[in-house]
Symmetry: C2
Subunit: 407 residues, 2 copies
């Protein structure tokens, strides 16, 4: 009997631990094929330093709490394996696998993590090593190809939509003209910013303008659009991706950087939201504010999508089942069978085709000269934000799974 | 039979509409004493422009949705009545009240709104006008005197504590030293920042340092405290009030303003969080990030405290009952009868004693040379964040009460 090891890598999401839960539970369930379920601490990097834990250390409450604990329970890393498969790190890693009798390795992560899965599975194949290596996707950015969507996106999208709704209510209390610019994560792909359209409850409701990095941003057109919107509405909410850029490819946030230095003489870095706030104040003279939806976008437990959390766990479990049945070098994918009713199945894709690619929002889902989002996106995204998992609560706050300090 | 009018004023909170609900429901319930329940649109200012609505226009779903809708359903204003009670605005206002046969006026708001209640009730008394005028408190800042706490604080405190928990999970995934500085609302009173202590789940858990405006902030001591914390912990969360200042009274955010200008030549305004981020980067050379908990602090429906929402409605209803029984010139207050079990009763206080005063966090609740919060605060605040109201949901998002555009 072989052992299983699982690791987490890259930025955290609200449901990456839900995928971890899926892997562990299915690992435990398959006790005829799998003896021990181990976890790498801080991913491949920590594992190379000899850091791992046996998952049987988790009591049942902690294991169940994983389903709704944001972050990365096992700790994460940003570690890129060398492109040269002859590098000494590969035999070292597989020797460690052999010492621990590892037959299955699962890596939960985004693009870079799939690169790791690709390299390790190719190395194993080239050296006839029977360790089955699988990728479990996660990223709030929803930018992995060959999958309908990624675990983590639904919860982040729900956070964005709900927050934009709330900020819209907050911004509309006074009877004076105002602009609120909400900056949303997404450097190259605008999926999360597009989700702000879900906040719109009626015609002409906020957000009135939505800008993604998939379309060029023009400052003058933006100001003209605001003036147009003011004709029918006093309090305007504008949603922008952090990565919006003009037609020459210059990021809007770069325009801000040209000016100031901080109190320590370093170049002052601000986001595009802050820059646009200053632009609007300077040119339109109205009350203006920018809000940066910060890390809570990717770590909010209270705005988790239950659909997302369940699918994340399902992806983990499906990876284990597939590996046991002989698969390796694959990433678990989501295949949508239907929108209404929403039906999703897990599939498998060759991880080599996925890593280092990027899926952006289709241009036909961006409308009105790049200022709005089409119904097709709404139909796509709405099923992904449904339901709210029940969080274990204590003293008015959620109870999370915390890893005990290592000895 | 007389009519009732209610208005909202000042910044929005998560539960100001819950107080509005309380006033309207109790107004409807007392149909033997009260004929019509009206609402001022955009407070006193809108009312002076002839803008109001009859609350019977609200269908039952909308009325019930008010209980969990953040913002200010009736719209708000920032309008200070003149100190001179001989000003022409007073007879104008009371003439409008007379035309509408108003016998009861309720103003839901903070310090400035209580100033309005004080002036109008003094004018009415001086001129023997039988309009009963009552203040219903609301402010996330919790800075009104003569009340145990204010509606709005519990929900904002819950948002702060939950967000700090989540950011702590997010910040702890990598195995490298990092500092995350969370800037929390509160210019003069540190109540909300103090609530970040509720995020701490075990000894040495984050946040490791908490700074309120009630204590002087020293930059060198802060850096030394961080170095000390790094001895036992890699990922440090620090919570600061936006209004922290040094011993000379200089706001920490002012240190940032001295340096940069924005791309339009205007002085660059950043918060103290951003300044401290740059300070830590410059001096300690570790990974550092600042997060500004933005307007969501005061408008999050998903992190409403049920206790807060219920108490807010109770305050509104109690105000109506009291006014009908003859009270005027009072603010509804909260009187805590016991911590464990938590028992709270509504009371009444002379609004003239309350307006233009400010309640700060008692110095004995600030410990360890101004870097931490005492157990007494935890005992005080914990009952206020309990419970989560059930939000009406549709398509994965909360359903809110929206006011129809005026004709």
């Amino acid at each position: 009997m072989k052992n299983l090891i699982v690791g987490q890598s890259g930025g955290p999401t609200a449901v990456i631990n839900s995928s971890l839960y899926g892997v562990i539970r299915e690992g435990f369930n398959r006790s005829e094929e799998i003896e021990h379920v181990y976890g790498m601490i801080n991913g491949i990097q920590g594992f190379l330093d000899g850091r791992f834990m046996d998952m049987k250390e988790l009591d049942n409450d902690t294991l169940e709490a994983l389903r709704t604990t944001p972050g990365a329970y096992l700790g994460s890393c940003r570690f890129k394996l060398p492109d040269d498969l002859n590098d000494a790190i590969y035999p070292l890693l597989f020797q460690k696998f052999e010492e621990m009798n590892i037959g299955y390795f699962f890596y939960i992560g985004g693009n870079d993590s799939m690169d790791t899965v690709s390299k390790l599975s190719r190395y194993a194949a080239a050296h006839n090593i029977d360790v089955r290596i699988m990728g479990i996707p996660k990223t709030i950015d929803n930018d992995l190809i060959l999958t309908d969507h990624t675990p983590g996106f639904g919860s982040a999208a729900k956070y964005v939509a709900a927050s934009v709704c709330e900020i819209g209510l907050d911004a509309s209390v006074y009877n004076t003209k105002s602009v609120t610019i909400i900056e949303i994560m997404g450097r190259h792909a605008g999926w999360l910013t597009a989700a702000s359209v879900l906040a719109r409850k009626f015609e002409q409701d906020n957000p009135v303008l939505i800008y993604l990095p998939e379309a060029d941003f023009d400052q003058e057109s933006f100001l003209a659009s605001l003036e147009e919107c003011f004709k029918t509405k006093n309090n305007l909410i504008v949603c922008v991706s952090e990565g919006i850029h003009d037609k020459d490819g210059t990021f809007i946030c770069e325009y801000a950087a040209s000016a100031g230095v901080d109190a320590f003489g370093h170049k002052m870095l601000t986001g595009c939201g802050k820059y646009l706030e200053n632009l609007v104040r300077d040119r339109l003279g109205v009350k203006v504010r920018s809000v940066e939806l910060n890390v809570n976008q990717r770590c909010s437990a209270f705005l988790q999508s239950e659909t997302d959390a369940l699918e994340a766990a399902q992806a983990g479990a499906f990876g284990v089942t597939s590996a046991i049945s002989g698969e390796t070098g694959k990433m678990v994918s989501f295949v949508r069978k239907s929108d209404k009713p929403y039906v999703m199945e897990c599939g498998l894709e060759d991880v080599n085709l996925i890593c280092n690619q990027e899926k952006t929002v289709p241009v036909e889902w961006i409308t009105k000269d790049g200022t709005d989002i089409a119904q097709a996106f709404i139909d796509y995204a709405l099923p992904l934000i449904q339901g709210s998992p029940k969080l274990p609560m204590k003293d008015g706050l959620a109870v999370y799974a915390y890893r005990k300090p290592e000895k």
